[in-house]
Amino acid sequence: METYRDLPQSTYTLQTTESVRTGTWRTLRPVIDQSKCVRCYACWKFCPDLSIEVHEEGDYPKVDYDHCKGCGICSNECPKQAIQMVREESVCSI
């Protein structure tokens, strides 16, 4: 592309937003304590970024850390306080 004439009329990308790893924005990480989890899936229901995965009914929910931005809604909504928000630097070693 060299000039404005080479551009499409409006912007679009060939990939979906899945290719954008928004998980790198996170400072707080949700960690699910399976001993407290009752698999009600409130976290899955409330996650605004589709970052709680439940593949089969009955599975424990799993966090998609590639995309979770660490907003903490899941932790706030969990009726059993099974999700703790943990500072990233305490789990990442540099």
Partner: protein, 395 residues
């Protein structure tokens, strides 16, 4: 077929004739009867469109942007505060080049709370990148919606369009309207078939991020499309005349301006009143004319400049006010006439705000004022508020 209908009924009828495929609308006075009529048409299977009931005007526009990306012909209508709530999505629709057509039934923005016509709502959206067309009567409302789809969906344009009808004065007033047969409209308006469509099997991101190295070029392309629209408005009008016999005269309609000494620039329903006043003045030998702006975006600068070379005194009637500056149209007309600075005298008039009636007598006084300026009198105030209760006996 001749029928008797309000401009809102004419707008709904135009949507049906255009075979719109997705409608998303939220009620607001004085627009509501458009979305009600369309809901009724959908319920009765007179119109096979998907009608999306939304929770706000912001959502209505968002829904249509998505629908338009699928390749559907889309329609909504709004007024005043509802249009203001859409503001963010209006930029989105234009930036994403979605040719949505939307009647705006013009109404004042509160407070003071007021449901009657003025153009403050429309003028607040003039920089969103939408085409903006003003209508003088119910017939023009129906016809302009059909023309708007043809202009907006042109591959060289691909911009959304507002078709503006004055609240109550047109929206709720019955007039004679010649409704074309849908088969004739099919011949004038072909199905919408955009180059880029959402394909659910190949998910993509639309309207995605552009870094500073290219964002300006996207803006420039929008600017070029708006420029190209000037020619397309004329073409759509010529084709319309050929198909339906009604001639609206492009971006700017000149009424009795050929030998005029003074002319008044005006938009919307008040243009009809101004024409009647001009006729009366002509009967008394006064050489006055009316310049009806049909398009405000794109703005017909070249056409106005051409008139300015013949007509020495040009007044502008604004049914809106830009605080701290003056009339929105007045500012742009003077900008267009700048190459003739010193030769053309101008004056701005503000009137009809919040639905205040603008009468034939008001326009006669405006024409008399302009004639006095034309024969060497002083303009007095550069911008004058028409029929303002200021204790004077002027109006």
């Amino acid at each position: 077929m001749l029928d008797l209908m309000t401009a809102n009924a004419a707008a709904a009828k135009a949507a049906m004739l255009a075979r719109v495929e997705v409608i998303a609308a939220y009620p607001i006075t004085p627009q509501t009867s458009i979305s009600e009529k369309l809901a009724e048409m959908c319920a009765n299977n007179e119109l096979r469109a998907k009608y999306i009931k939304v929770e706000s005007e912001h959502s209505a526009m968002a829904a249509l942007i998505g629908a338009s990306f699928i390749g559907a012909r889309t329609f909504t209508a709004t007024s005043s505060q509802g249009l203001a709530l859409m503001h963010e999505m209006l930029f989105w629709a234009a930036g994403a080049r979605r040719p949505i057509v939307m009647p705006v039934v013009s109404r004042a923005l509160g407070p003071p709370w007021n449901i009657w016509t003025d153009h403050m709502d429309v003028m607040g959206e003039r920089d969103t990148g939408w085409l903006q067309f003003f209508c003088e009567n119910n017939q023009e409302t129906l016809d302009m919606i059909l023309m708007a789809y043809r202009i907006a969906e042109d591959r060289d344009i691909m911009l959304p369009a507002m078709v503006i009808e004055d609240g109550f004065i047109l929206s709720h007033t019955f007039e004679k309207v010649d409704v074309p047969a849908i088969e004739e409209v099919d011949f004038y308006l072909h199905p919408f078939n955009p180059d880029v469509k959402v394909n659910l099997n190949k998910p993509r991101r639309y309207g995605s991020l552009v870094m500073p190295d290219w964002a300006m070029e996207f803006r420039y392309n929008n600017a070029l499309a708006m420029e190209r629209a000037k020619k397309k408005v004329v073409e759509a009008g010529t084709a319309f005349k050929k198909a339906f016999g009604r001639d609206y005269g492009g971006l700017l309609e000149e009424y009795r301006c050929e030998d005029a000494e003074v002319a008044l620039v005006i938009v919307g329903s008040a243009a009809g009143t101004a024409k009647v006043s001009a006729d009366r003045m002509r009967e008394r030998g006064k050489k006055v004319g009316v310049l009806k702006l049909r398009a405000f975006r794109p703005f017909p600068s070249d056409e106005l400049l051409a008139v300015g070379k013949r007509v020495g005194t040009i007044g502008v009637f604004d049914r809106s006010y830009t605080y701290g500056q003056g009339g929105a149209i007045f500012g742009e007309v003077r900008n267009a006439l700048f190459p003739l600075a010193g030769q053309v005298r101008t004056k701005g008039y503000i009137g009809g705000l919040g639905g205040r009636d603008v009468t034939e007598n008001d326009f006669e006084k405006i024409f008399e004022d302009l004639l006095a300026i034309s024969s060497g009198g002083k303009a007095g105030k550069e911008i004058e508020w028409v029929a303002l209760k200021d204790g004077s006996l002027r109006w």
